[in-house]
Symmetry: C2
Subunit: 132 residues, 2 copies
Amino acid sequence: MTASPQVPYRVWQDTSDAFNSDCPVREVLDHITSRWGVLILAALTRGSMRFAELHKMIDGISEKMLSQTLRMLVRDGLVTRTVEPVTPPRVRYELTELGEGLTVSLQPFLDWLYRHTADIVMAQNRHDRDVT
Amino acid sequence: MTASPQVPYRVWQDTSDAFNSDCPVREVLDHITSRWGVLILAALTRGSMRFAELHKMIDGISEKMLSQTLRMLVRDGLVTRTVEPVTPPRVRYELTELGEGLTVSLQPFLDWLYRHTADIVMAQNRHDRDVT
DNA sequence: CAGCATCCAAAAGGATACTG
DNA sequence: CAGTATCCTTTTGGATGCTG
């Protein structure tokens, strides 16, 4: 983990490690677990979506963050952006094959989340009661 | 999704939805996907860890954020904090059963991450070349 | 050792106004 | 419609110094 600090980061296929802040794995993790990343990816599992649809579906996101996060996901090759040449413009966002694979891998976590949020809220209440 | 806005949020078991910013599912999602949440949970899958061990293992985290995120995870019932009454103090952090279940559900995602970070970096390079 | 408190810098994020 | 640009606020986070 502390080996060869003198050479620029390169052979991350072998030595990669999300615990290392210089490793691309860490950067990608940060992108996906960014505040709106998982929610946008989850929304797109329902199929192709337009900007306004995503904006309406994901409660609380601003246009700025939606646009910003979508650009990042497109750059990462997880989402495609397709402009239909009509007026007014119509833009469709869709998962790539890579993005599909990612959402499949996220499914167990999302399932867990829905099934255990109740447990967590209970734990929070218990904790707040005990500590206060 | 927009039903009964006049009553305080309550029946989230049935209507829960991470896309709703008022839903506990969303809050829990934010906790887990907070900047250091996944990394700390992943680190603890290797077994019980002391504060300094976590600090050393997770590159780039400050003591403040480590302590802050650990407190949140303890409150959420995902991690236990045990103080051994010796001097100097020794504190062990460990996954609870709930936390274990969570990390199991995160495993497919982490596996995907390691296997596909290369693809994402390639997509980024392609994108940067094309757009610039 | 395991932290908390404080202060400060940086980044994230929201509101608004505007454009092709 | 689907954004971008700007400004501003809030949050995040790091560095430092201190304690039981």
